[in-house]
């Protein structure tokens, strides 16, 4: 357990150092900015299409995610990678793929999670220049032994509630810094607290389960594509 805690501390310290480095870089002279790589320039080229009398301008390759995330814990795996989109300034969903196994997180059974995290930022502009608080609801598919969306036939009707998909309301905050990189112009470090529906229900229903006992913490990094 000490080893695991130490591991957590090392990870956090590393993230902290990285964020300091990033800030220093971002504050450096603007004239040293890298040129945007060809690949991105091409991807961002605006295209127009004329439908009857309307001319529509759109970003070519709009489907390329603008945010790349790496997350530790948060009930969707030991580590997970996420791909996010800034649909609007406030609504920015991300799709995560998480993994947990004996050698990767220390669970005797391995779990593959896919999670759609619907994040809503509370402010259009970051607070104190860097801080972006957010909240939302994620939907997680858990794939491991004996999880099911529909009960096998031999069970009586409604014997169990499905246990494959869970909903997690969450609250979090991200510190975002500008960086000078060929591909990325920003990096964020975030922490969030989520509560699985089943745990939340017990926190509401019983006085033994206190609200904090339903919480699961995640920490992660976001890289923002230019």
């Amino acid at each position: 357990m000490i080893k695991k805690c130490f591991g957590n501390l090392v990870l956090i310290s590393f993230l902290h150092l990285l964020s300091c480095e990033v800030r220093a870089q971002a504050e450096a002279d603007d004239s040293l900015r890298y040129e945007m790589p060809k690949m991105l320039k091409k991807a961002y080229k605006e295209r127009t299409v004329v439908i009857k009398e309307d001319t529509i301008t759109y970003r070519h390759r709009w489907f390329i995610p603008g945010q790349y995330k790496l997350q530790y814990a948060g009930s969707i795996g030991f580590m997970s990678v996420g791909f996010g989109y800034a649909i609007t300034q406030t609504y920015q969903p991300a799709l995560f793929f998480g993994y947990l196994s004996e050698n990767f997180g220390g669970s005797k059974n391995s779990v593959v999670s896919i999670s759609l995290k619907n994040s809503f930022y509370f402010t259009r502009q970051p607070l104190f220049r860097h801080f972006k608080p957010y909240g939302g609801l994620s939907v997680t598919w858990g794939n491991t032994n004996n999880t099911f969306k529909r009960l096998p036939d031999y069970y009586p009707k409604e014997y169990y509630f499905q246990n494959k998909i869970h909903f997690y309301p969450f609250l979090g905050g991200e510190l975002k810094f500008a960086i000078n990189n060929r591909y990325f112009d920003g990096v964020g470090i975030y922490t969030e607290f989520s509560a699985m529906d089943a745990y939340l229900l017990e926190a509401i229903r019983t006085s033994y389960v206190k609200p904090h006992m339903a919480l699961s913490m995640a920490v992660g990094l976001t890289f923002y594509l230019r």
Binding site: S75, N145, N146, T147, N163
Partner: protein, 260 residues
């Protein structure tokens, strides 16, 4: 500042870190509890027969508040030797439900032996149970009485039949035991059992001349003889505010239903 908060949280309460609700990561202090709890019964367990009383509980699921009440009541009883929980310690076999059960049950002043229930086999529950408590089929001897704990979960384990061969062998009175007592979460008349399994369960008890079988699953107290010769005792769940006390005497085994 934010980093400091994160550091403190990580260092202070590791419970807040969960990799998955299906994770099978059991803290070392809660590993193989049936073995460590049986060891607490030694050396008294090895003594020859003398009358004793034990408490029976079952189906605590997520009735945490009622379960805590039950634990408080058990701790006021000073004439019990140990407790048997007849299974269904969780609702959905999520990782924290196992932890919460362990936290509450370890407040009992007596050793508790925990059977597996059908709910405990959802998700990775079966594997978590074996990490946390030990083998799901097991027997132990206490003061000349053999306690046989039978894992008879079928649907959730995706098997056709429980391990009747093991059960039959385990029930053999191979050492002049005063009594042999079978415990299993699901009673044989439940829908999980086919007609054949229901019949076989009772037949095995008859073969070994046993007249008492103890079960959970039904959430209510019952004492019945559905197949004539064998007495079937069903243990209530904690929200009934009842405790079953099994009184193992020289000439008979009786039970009491205590309301608290």
């Amino acid at each position: 500042m934010a980093m400091l908060v994160v550091l403190l949280l990580l260092a202070g309460c590791k419970e807040i870190i969960e990799y998955s609700p299906y994770q099978n990561i059991v803290e070392s202090k809660w590993k193989k509890q049936n073995i460590s709890n049986y060891n607490k019964l030694l050396p008294a367990a090895k003594e020859p027969f003398q009358p004793f009383r034990i408490g029976l509980i079952a189906d605590s699921h997520t009735y945490y508040d009622d379960f805590e009440e039950q634990v408080k009541y058990i701790n006021t009883c000073n004439d019990l030797d140990f407790i048997i929980h007849l299974g269904d310690i969780t609702l959905s076999a999520n990782a924290r439900e196992f932890d919460w059960y362990s936290e509450i049950v370890n407040k009992v002043n007596l050793p508790v032996l925990t059977l597996i229930g059908n709910h405990d086999c959802l998700g990775n529950g079966y594997d978590i149970y074996t990490e946390m408590f030990g083998e799901s089929n097991f027997f132990f001897v206490y003061k000349g009485v053999k306690f046989v704990m039978f894992d008879n979960i079928i649907w959730e384990k995706k098997v056709q039949d429980p391990d009747f061969e093991w059960f039959d062998k385990a029930l053999a009175n191979d050492s002049d035991y005063k009594y042999v007592l079978p415990f299993a979460h699901i009673p044989p008349w439940d829908a999980q059992f086919t007609v054949g399994n229901e019949y076989l369960y009772n037949q095995i008890l008859l073969k070994h001349n046993l007249d008492l079988s103890v079960h959970g699953h039904g959430h209510s107290y019952a004492y019945a003889q559905p197949y004539d010769d064998v007495n079937y005792l069903s243990v209530p769940s904690p929200e009934k505010s009842q405790l079953i006390i099994l009184d193992v005497q020289e000439d008979a085994i009786t039970h009491e239903l205590v309301k608290y």
